[in-house]
Symmetry: D2
C-alpha cells in the first residue's frame, strides 16, 4: 500500500502517523522523502489495513493499494484452480463446461420433472429451479417456497441431478438440507450476514455478481464466505446494470477471464439473466464458452409462454438441446487450441 | 397497460390470449385492431399484472405500463403528504428540514454521547450511529453490534434524541426494540425477506436507495414494507453508482422532487455517503434543502481522523454547526417563495 | 407509434391534435377510446415523426414507438446481409472473419511496414494505423497527421493491405483520398456534420460506437451516413463506459447479435479498446468470433513498450499470430454448427 | 507521479527505465526500494507525462498520478476565479448568478424576439437559441442554420442580449462572427479538432460536459481550448448518462463544487437538458443556485407544445419569470451566509 502525504505536513506529524500505523496493523513502513511530497510504503498484511481509515487522516493526500484486499480468493496465494466436486460426482472447475439448467421457478411436480429429464438428456449435470423468488413487486409470484424445495427433491430422485437453488434468508437455511449447491442471488451479493452464515455451511455456494458490483467487490463477497471456512465458492457473472436498455443487463464477458486470472475459484455465466431475451441466450452462451467459463446456468421451461416468471428469457427444451451441443463443441475447440 | 401484438397472429390466438388475461387477472380488455397491428388496453388492477409474464407470450410484440406498479406508495391514491411523527414528538415530512446526525459507527460511550450532545445543540432532532456495519471487506471493523445499540440507548437517555440505526438481518430484530427508526441500508434495499418482516414492525423505516436501483424500484421496495401494514416509510437518496470516480457515488438530486411527486412519503438525502468527501457534504446538503428534501442524514464524528469507518466523509461537530445553520436558512428561504 | 392521451382531455382537443398530426406527418391515425384513457395508433412513415414533439403536447401522457426510427439501416426493409467489398477484393460481411490489424499510431516507416508485413503474414486483410489521434490531453502525442497517411500508403504499397484509418475533421477529407476505409472514432459517433459529409463519400465507413451510446443511437448514426447516399457502413462495438474500473471500457458482447438482428450491416469488434489490457485481447476476440462478428480490429505493435500510444493494450506480432489462428478456428467451428 | 514496478525486475531494467524517463520528459526520478517492490516518484512537469505509455512498460505494475494532468485550467496555478466579461458588460463568474435563456431552436423572427424580450424582462442577461441542432435522427429538424443566426442577431439588436449558440463544425466558424459566446455541445466535448480551433478564437466558449465524460475529462477539454490561447472558457454541467431512465440524464450536482475547487473557471448548470422534463427544471435550478453555480442555461419557449425540438423540457415565459425570481433569492441567501 502506497500512501502519499500532503505537502504541508511537519516531520513530527509523519512520525506520529507512522507509529499509529505500526501499532494498529501488522505492517512495516518504508518512507521515501521527495522534494515536494513524502511517500510511505506499507509492507505486510495490508489486506487488513482499512484504506478508508488511512484516507481520512489529515496528513494523507491519497492512498493506493498495490496488493489486492482479498486473500483466500486470491490466485497469488493459491495458484491451482479450485475444483468443486459433489459427493455424487458432478464437477465444476476441472476444465469442462458444466451445464446447470432448469426453470426460473418451480411450479409443479410435472413441470420440474419434465424439465429435469429434458435438460439431463441434453447433457446438463445440475438442475436449477427457484423455490424462493426475489421479485421487484410484492404483488408478483414469490415462489412455492418449502413446497418448491420438495418438488426439486422429487426431480432429483427421478433424474439424479443435484439441485442448485437460491436462498433469500438465513432463516430458511434448515430447509436447504437436501440442496446440493446454494445460490446467493445478485441482490444479496452484499447481504453480509447471509454470506457469513454460508461460511459455516458444508456445501458449494454459487455467488452471483450484484447488478452494480465491481469484480473486486464480488471477490470480497467470496472472501466473506471463505473467511468463515467454506472455500467451495463458484463465482457467477450474470450481467451488470448500464445505460443500455435493449437488454435487461449488460453481460460483462471480460469478467470471466479477469476473475480466472485474479482468483482460483471457478467462474460460470448466466446468459439468461444477462440478456433477458431468449434469442440472445445462445450467442451469449457461445461467447462464455469461448472465453473459458467453467459452466453455464440457463433457464429452460417446458412452456415459456406460461412460465410464472422470466418466461421472456427461457428456452424451450428443444432450444436447450441445440445450445448444449453447440457450446460443448466450442469448448472442445477452445481447449484443443 | 398497453399490449402491442405481433403482426402475424390469428384471430383465435388473440381471443385465447384475452380470455387468458381476464381469467388470470381482475382486468377488462379493450381491443383496437389497426391495419398492421392489434393493440390491447388493460383496465383495472394492473399493478397486479406481471408485465414479464405478458412479454413472454408468443403473440406479444411489446408491453407498456400506463399506471405505476406501486399502489400504497403512490401519491395518486394518497394525495396528502405522509408525516412521520414519533411518540416523543420529532417529525419528518411536515415541511420542515429534519436533521439526523451522528457517527458512522458507534465506538464508545464517550464518543457517541459527545457527538449526540454536539449535534443536538446544533439543531439535530435524531441521532444516527451504526452498530451493525455492512463492510465490503470481512477484515474491516464490523461494528460493536449489541453493545453499540446499548451505547446508543445511553446517548438517547442523555440527550433525548431518538435513535436511527441500521438493521442487517431479521435475526437481530429483537435487539432493535429501543431503536426509534430502523434503517435499511442501500445494499439491502432489495433484501425482500427483510422488507417483508419490517412490514410487521410498528416503527418508521428509513429505506435507502440501492447503489444501482431506479426510482421506481425504490418505490417498489417501499411497497413491500407498506403491503405488510407498516406505512411509515422514509425514503432516502444516498447517491447512485455511475462511471464518475471522483466521488464515491453520484448524488441523484433529481430523485428528490421526482419521489415527492410520485409518492406521498417523506424524502431525505444523505450527502455524506453520496460524496464520500467531507468538503462536499455542505454544498450537497444545501442542494437538498433547495429542492425541498424533508431531511438530511449526516455523518458527524468528534475526531474524523480516528473514526473506525468513513472518516473521510465525516464532519467535525464545528463543521456541522455551520452546516445546520446554513441549510435551515436555505429551507426558510425556499419555503417563503 | 402508440400515443396515450391524458385522462382529462376534451373531445375537441383530441380532434385538433389528430388533425395537427396528419397535417404535419404522412401518417394515418386510429383512435381507441377506453373508459379512462384514449390511445392513438399512428400508421405510416413514423420514422419521420418526432417523438419528443409528440411528448411535449399538453394532452399527451406518453409515447411509445412500435417501429424503429431507422430505415436504411433496418433489416426489416433490407433482409439480406450487406457485404462490403473493396475494389482490391477484400471483403467484410460475407460470413468470414475479417482481421484488421496494426498499430494504434503510425510512428515511422520502419514501424508501420514491419507491423504490416507481420499482420499480413498472420492472415490480416486490412491494415489499421492512426495518423490523426484523438487524445484526452492536448499535451499527448497527436499523431503524425499527413505524414502518417503517407507512411500508411507506403505500407500498403509494400503489402497490398488496404488502409483503415480515423478521420477527425471534415477539413482533412482531401488527405484521405488513398485511404480505403475511413474510420469514425467513438468520440465522433455523434459528430453529425462529419457523418453527413461521409454520406457523400464513395468508400466504406467504419463507425465505432460511442462510449455512452445505445445500440439504437449507433444505428441512427449509421442512418445519417446512409441517408446521404453512402450505404457502405461497418458497425464496430468497442466497449462502453460503465462503473467497472478494472477494464478501460466494458465490452458489450450482446451488441453483436443484436446489431446483426436489427440491421443488415456488418458488425466488427475492437477487443483492444474494449479492454485496454493486452492479456484480455485474445479471450475477447474469441468471444467475438463465437457470437458471429464479421471481423476484428486489433492493435499490434512491434514493440508495445515503446508505442507512442495505447501500448498497454497492444499485442506483439507473435501474440497476434497465435490469436489469428485461434479465432479463425472458432469461426470455423461456429459456422459448421 | 508514482510508479510501482513489478517484483521480478532486474536492477539493470530499473536503471534503463529511469534513464528512458529522464530522456523523454523534463522530470527527475526518486527511487524507493522496498523488500518486495520498487516505487519511483516522478517530480517536475508530470502533466506532459503520458501515463498510458508508462503503464505499457514491461516492468511497470501500476501508475498513479499525484498531480492533475491539466495546468491552465488548474486552480493550483491560478488561484483567483476567472471572470468572463463581455464587451457589452455582461458577466459570468463574479459571484452573481447569470441567467442564459431562450428556445432550444430558433424558429422564426417573431418567436425568437418574443422569447428574448420576455426572458430579458425576467432578468436574463444572455439569449440562447440553437441555429445548428445536433439531432439523433437525420430525419428530425436540423435547425435554421445561417438563417437562424440572422434571426438571433435581430433579437440581439432588439433587446441588447448577447447571443449564446452552438457550433457543430469548424467550417461554420465564419458565420459565428456576431455570436457573443460560442457553445460546444455535449456530443462534441471531445471533438478535439474543433476545440483546438476554438483555442484561437477571441470569444468566450461555453463547454458542455459530455454524456459520459468525467470531471477530469471536461477539464482536459477546457485545457485544449486554453492551450491554444483562449482562456475564456465557461464549464457547463448538463447531466450525465446513467442507468436511471426516469430523467433523460442524471444531473451531477456535485460536479459544480468539485469543478470550482479544481479549477478557476466559471461553472454553470443546464437543468433543462439534465432532466428533459419541464417540471423538474425549477427544482434543479434551485439546487444549482444553492451549490454556488455561476449561472444557469434554461430553455424557454413561447409555446412549448409547438416547439420544433425539446418542447417537453421547455418552460413558458411565465414559468421562467417565477424561476428567475426564486433562484436569485436562493443565490442571495447563500451568498449572505
Amino acid at each position: 500500500m502506497i500512501i502519499v502525504l500532503k505537502a504541508n505536513r511537519s516531520e513530527e506529524q509523519v512520525k506520529n502517523f507512522i507509529s499509529n500505523l505500526t501499532d494498529r496493523y501488522d505492517v512495516s513502513v518504508n518512507t521515501w522523502v521527495g522534494t515536494h511530497s513524502t511517500v510511505l510504503g506499507l509492507i505486510g498484511d495490508t489486506a487488513a489495513v482499512d484504506s478508508e481509515y488511512i484516507a481520512a487522516q489529515d496528513i494523507v493526500e491519497s492512498v493506493k493499494r498495490v496488493q489486492e484486499p482479498y486473500k483466500k480468493a486470491n490466485r497469488k496465494f493459491h495458484p491451482e484452480d479450485t475444483v468443486i466436486k459433489l459427493p455424487t460426482g458432478q464437477v465444476i472447475g476441472d476444465g469442462s463446461l458444466a451445464l446447470i439448467a432448469g426453470p426460473c421457478s418451480v411450479e409443479s411436480e410435472a413441470q420440474i420433472c419434465c424439465v429435469a429429464e429434458r435438460v439431463k438428456a441434453a447433457g446438463a449435470t445440475f438442475l436449477r429451479g427457484g423455490a424462493f423468488k426475489p421479485r421487484t413487486s410484492p404483488y408478483a409470484f414469490q415462489g412455492l417456497k418449502a413446497e418448491g424445495l420438495e418438488l426439486l427433491k422429487k426431480a432429483k430422485e427421478r433424474t439424479g441431478l443435484p439441485i442448485v437453488t437460491e436462498i433469500m434468508s438465513i432463516g430458511h437455511l434448515d430447509l436447504f438440507e437436501d440442496v446440493d449447491v446454494i445460490q446467493v442471488g445478485a441482490r444479496n451479493m452484499q447481504n453480509f450476514e447471509l454470506l457469513k452464515e454460508l461460511g459455516h455451511v458444508h456445501k458449494p455456494i454459487l455467488l452471483k455478481r450484484g447488478l452494480a458490483n465491481t469484480i473486486e467487490e464480488l471477490l470480497m463477497s467470496a472472501e466473506y464466505i471463505m473467511a468463515g471456512g467454506n472455500e467451495q465458492v463458484i463465482l457467477c457473472e450474470r450481467g451488470i446494470r448500464t445505460y443500455e436498455t435493449f437488454t435487461r443487463n449488460t453481460l460483462d464477458i471480460s469478467a470471466v477471464p479477469i476473475l480466472k486470472r485474479l482468483s482460483h475459484l471457478p467462474v460460470i455465466v448466466d446468459p439468461s439473466h444477462a440478456s433477458g431475451i431468449n434469442w440472445l441466450v445462445e450467442p451469449l452462451a457461445m461467447a462464455a464458452a469461448a472465453v473459458g467459463a467453467d459452466g453455464l446456468i440457463i433457464e429452460v421451461h417446458n412452456d415459456p409462454s406460461r412460465a410464472l416468471c422470466d418466461g421472456a428469457q427461457s428456452l424451450t427444451p428443444d432450444q436447450f438441446d441445440v445450445l448444449a451441443k453447440k457450446v460443448q463443441k466450442v469448448t472442445e475447440t477452445v481447449k484443443s487450441l
